[in-house]
């Protein structure tokens, strides 16, 4: 650990090498590039790390930092891909890079097991969950079919799958997201591995489920003494779940140390930048004076869809049911809200809560099934495309996905100019206006003629904001505008939105799943769950004294940066869960 580019305050630095479950020295992984010159890109560049029994290490970095590539190298997964791997990787005493294919095969899933980001695609859709676990167990232990089956039920039960004996026969698609991740963890546990490598295990999950999975990983580690390597982009996840942190940037380790030390007092500017960029629950927004003047009001808004086959929902009666008329899914189910002129209304909720559908109805991209949408007191909920034409300029939207929100076949300037041209502006005037707008959102005006694929995610989001601004709207609905961005870029985009709001006197509706981000930007907040607003009020009030149990659960699940605080929150969650269990004796509602 003499690399002077690395700040190392690792507590395990002096550990004797014999106790180490994981010992990586000077790992380099590079991929050949497509061009003919035989060049290559180095994804991991001289990484060293170690992990002792019962300890946990967080591997943190933004996208492209090489953290996942490094994690896959621990299992020798780059073998046969054309990637060049050098350095030594010792896992539970085996030299992964030198091991034969057969040795490596016996290591994988047995001594070191991996948990992936997307549990749905990580499980075979054709096999029952129990069979998949049993297969791995049989493979490594040679156990009988019956014993393997019993083991599968045992581990499924251990990870908190209710009625494990029966559910073991279910297929992955019959499980919810959180259940699937539990099943995958059960599979990892089957052979009692020494090391568990978890690659963004909670990124695809809702915040309440994320908390449960992290708690589960924590308990399992305490119970079995296995080592945990947790790969994540989220410092908050690391704070609650690991003893040590290793921060990666551009394929290199930039800081390594005890989780508490690194997060409390980052030793590197990059780490500091990361830590500071993480939105905090307690960071409140500088209040903006807002009157009671309502710009947009929605009343008892509904939007129903035919439910996907096989799911619940209300049954269509009689002949309709026989002919396959599908039950209705209520995406938005009776929402009443108002948005005041000049404020930012935060809408927060987990996936499937209906927040995006609500946002799209507010700008009338979607027609509500029933209910009213009042803009300046006029109902626009039933207007056709023609009648909406004059209103379109008032209501704009910034989208979540920076890739699909820009037409790849048009230059970004053309995309921003489109609403101006559609409104009848002449080409030259539109062009100069767009150049101003690009500069206003922090992009060089000379990039007018560039195409979206030349832009980063954050830059594309800026273009999207410029496009929304082009028609000088009164209300902009921002639908998860930063959730696809790295944390440092997130902070910049959020800051830009705030500046623009002040400058143009905009009213914003800010939709997000991330409670901390919403707190940072919102004057008032609405909490959505299953198509309904369960709580609605001033941001400070909702965050500091939540009334609805769901809001409380949501807030309790948010990862925090302070490890001590994280530990006490975990205890609180556990108490809450125990209470739930003893109360109704059934499956706790929180187990998604």
């Amino acid at each position: 650990m003499t690399d002077d580019l690395l700040t190392d305050r690792s507590p395990s630095g002096g550990q004797p090498a014999g106790d180490l479950l994981l010992d990586v020295r000077d790992l380099r992984v590079s991929f050949p590039t497509a061009d003919a010159e035989g060049g290559s890109v180095t994804a991991v560049d001289g990484l060293s790390l170690s992990l002792a029994r019962g300890r946990s290490l967080g591997l943190v970095g933004e996208s492209g930092s090489g953290k996942s590539t490094a994690a896959f190298a621990l299992l020798g997964m780059h073998r046969g891909t054309g990637a060049e791997v050098t350095g030594t990787v010792r896992v539970a005493g085996t030299d992964v890079n030198a091991a034969s294919d057969e040795e490596l095969r016996r290591l994988r899933g047995n001594r070191v097991a991996m948990v992936f980001q997307d549990p749905l695609s990580a499980l075979d859709p054709f096999w029952s969950v129990g069979d998949q676990i049993a297969e791995v167990y049989r493979l490594h232990t040679g156990a009988s079919r019956r014993a393997a089956r019993a083991r599968a039920v045992e581990v499924l039960d251990r990870v908190g799958i209710p009625d494990a004996a029966r559910r073991a026969g279910a297929h992955p698609h019959e499980f919810s997201g959180g259940m699937r991740q539990r099943a995958l963890i059960a599979m990892a546990l089957a052979c009692e591995p020494d090391v568990l490598v978890a690659d963004e295990p909670t990124t695809a999950l809702d915040v309440t489920v994320q908390a449960q999975i992290l708690d589960l990983l924590h308990d399992l580690r305490e119970e079995t003494g296995m080592g945990l390597l947790l790969v994540t982009h989220d410092l908050g996840v690391v704070a609650g779940a690991t003893d040590e942190v290793l921060v990666m940037q551009g394929g290199r380790a930039v800081e390594h140390g005890g989780t508490e030390d690194v997060l409390r007092a980052p030793g590197r500017p990059y780490t500091r930048q990361l830590v500071e960029a993480v939105p905090r629950l307690e960071a409140r927004r500088t209040p903006v004076p807002v009157g009671d003047d309502v710009l947009l009001r929605v009343e008892d808004l509904h939007r129903h869809y035919p439910a996907p086959r096989g799911s619940g929902g209300e049954r269509a009666p009689g002949l309709g049911r026989l002919l396959g008329r599908r039950p209705q899914h209520r995406a938005v189910d009776g929402v009443t809200l108002d948005v005041r002129r000049g404020e930012t209304l935060g809408v927060v909720g987990e996936s499937g809560s209906g927040k995006t559908t609500l946002g799209r109805m507010m700008v009338r991209l979607l027609e509500p099934t029933s209910g009213r949408i009042l803009l300046d007191g006029r109902d626009i909920s039933r207007d056709g495309e023609r009648a909406l034409r004059p209103v379109r300029r008032d209501l704009q939207m910034v989208f979540q996905d920076p890739v699909s929100s820009l037409n790849p076949r048009r230059s970004v300037g053309d995309s921003v100019a489109e609403p101006l041209l559609a409104g009848g502006a002449d080409a030259a005037a539109a062009r100069s206006e767009v150049r101003d707008l690009l500069e206003r959102v922090g992009l060089p005006a000379s990039w007018y003629d560039r195409y979206p694929h030349e832009f980063s995610g954050g830059q594309r989001q800026r273009v999207g904001i410029a496009r929304a601004l082009a028609v000088r709207p009164r209300l902009i609905v921002c639908d998860e505008p930063v959730s696809a961005l790295d944390v440092s870029t997130q902070a910049q985009v959020v800051g830009l939105l705030g500046d623009l709001q002040r400058e143009f006197g905009l009213t914003l509706v800010f939709i997000a799943h991330d409670l901390a981000v919403v707190r940072q930007v919102s004057d008032r907040v609405a909490v959505m769950r299953q198509g309904q607003v369960v709580e609605w009020g001033d941001a400070d009030r909702v965050y500091e004294s939540p009334q609805h149990p769901y809001t409380r659960r949501l807030l309790a699940a948010v990862p925090v940066l302070d490890p001590a605080e994280a530990a006490s929150r975990r205890r609180a969650r556990r108490a809450l869960l125990a209470l739930d269990r003893s109360a109704d004796g059934a499956e706790p509602a929180a187990v998604a």
Partner: protein, 329 residues
């Protein structure tokens, strides 16, 4: 499951109805009078009117279709005074040129197409799926290049072309096989097979190539899925990953395509029949077209369409059974 089958049956019947209406309108609403042909040479006005009445072409189109539908269910009498011709249910029409019910003509020739199709199917499934799997698993090597080339060549050889070339090679030059002549299996199974070898090969070639391509891409797609990576990360041997986890996903679309293709071929492997001079449904249709024997044209077309629609329904059911994610409810 029952509900799924019921719903699928209802929609199948609806599609069949629409299809028959389209076919019927298409052929009977067009100019040209089948009665003139049915009447034969030296037909005068009175005689023609009688024939028209007997065929029912003097009725409005709607009535004609209604009679046709009723004939399908209850049989039908073509009657012109004393001269009554009965066509038992299900009546697909009556050919006055051959003086036979169309259905009888169809069923007489069906064994030819069934023999052709089923034999060819075995060949193309073995060769095609085998080739596809092999080239997917030997990706990047010389084997794959060779197989890809052969597959492309196979796809580019129209069925009548390969048939002609095979006959030239094996019957004419080498003399290893007799010139194919259809023999019913009941008469002599050995000769039945010997006579069908070349037709099978020519009919199977294009399908084999198409199935090889499809199997290959389907297998590669499956192998690139995340759950295959999971298998590798948990130490499953490659053989087990392919056989236990990739194959099922990769072959599901192939099986459903198979049902549809077989359905299509049962309705007449016209080109193969023509090359080898077999008297199957396809030849029946071509001859009927050349002689403008409309009832036969309509009957054979509908019969072929029925096969396809039913095959589609079977494919749906197979898919639903094979893939647990397709909810049957």
């Amino acid at each position: 499951m029952l509900r799924f089958l019921l719903r699928r049956s209802v929609s199948t019947v609806l599609v069949l109805l629409v299809l028959s209406a389209v076919v019927f309108t298409l052929f009977y609403a067009t100019p040209g009078d089948p009665a003139i042909l049915a009447c034969g040479k030296g037909c005068d006005g009175d005689r023609l009117a009688v024939v028209r009445h007997k065929l029912g072409t003097d009725l409005p189109l709607w009535d004609q279709y209604w009679h046709f539908l009723r004939g399908l269910v209850a049989g039908r009498d073509y009657d012109a005074g004393a001269d009554t011709t009965h066509c038992a249910a299900p009546c697909f029409g009556y050919s006055f040129q051959y003086d036979q019910p169309v259905l009888g003509m169809i069923t007489a020739r069906l064994p030819v197409d069934v023999s052709l199709t089923l034999g060819a199917m075995v060949i193309w499934m073995v060769v095609g799926v085998g080739t596809g799997l092999l080239s997917a698993l030997r990706r990047g090597g010389a084997t794959e290049r060779l197989l890809t080339g052969l597959t492309l060549a196979g796809m580019s050889t129209p069925v009548f072309l390969i048939g002609l070339l095979l006959m030239m090679a094996f019957c004419s030059w080498l003399g290893w096989l007799p010139f194919p002549q259809y023999t019913p299996i009941a008469d002599d199974p050995a000769r039945w097979a010997a006579n069908l070898v070349l037709p099978w090969l020519s009919l199977a070639l294009i399908s084999a190539a198409a199935y090889a391509r499809m199997t290959r891409s389907s297998m590669l797609e499956t192998l690139a899925e995340d759950h295959i990576r999971t298998g590798r990360a948990y130490g499953l041997p490659e053989r087990r990953i392919v056989a236990g986890h990739a194959l099922r996903g990769a072959l599901t679309p192939v099986i459903t395509l198979l049902a549809i293709d077989v359905g299509g071929m049962l309705g007449g492997a016209t080109l193969t029949e023509t090359v080898f001079g077999f008297d199957g449904l396809g030849r029946l249709l071509v001859n009927a077209v050349n002689h403008i024997d409309l009832p036969v044209v309509v009957g054979v077309t509908l019969f072929a369409a029925f096969f396809i629609v039913i095959a589609n329904a079977v494919a749906d059911v197979l898919y639903a059974v094979a893939d647990p994610r397709v909810a049957l409810a």
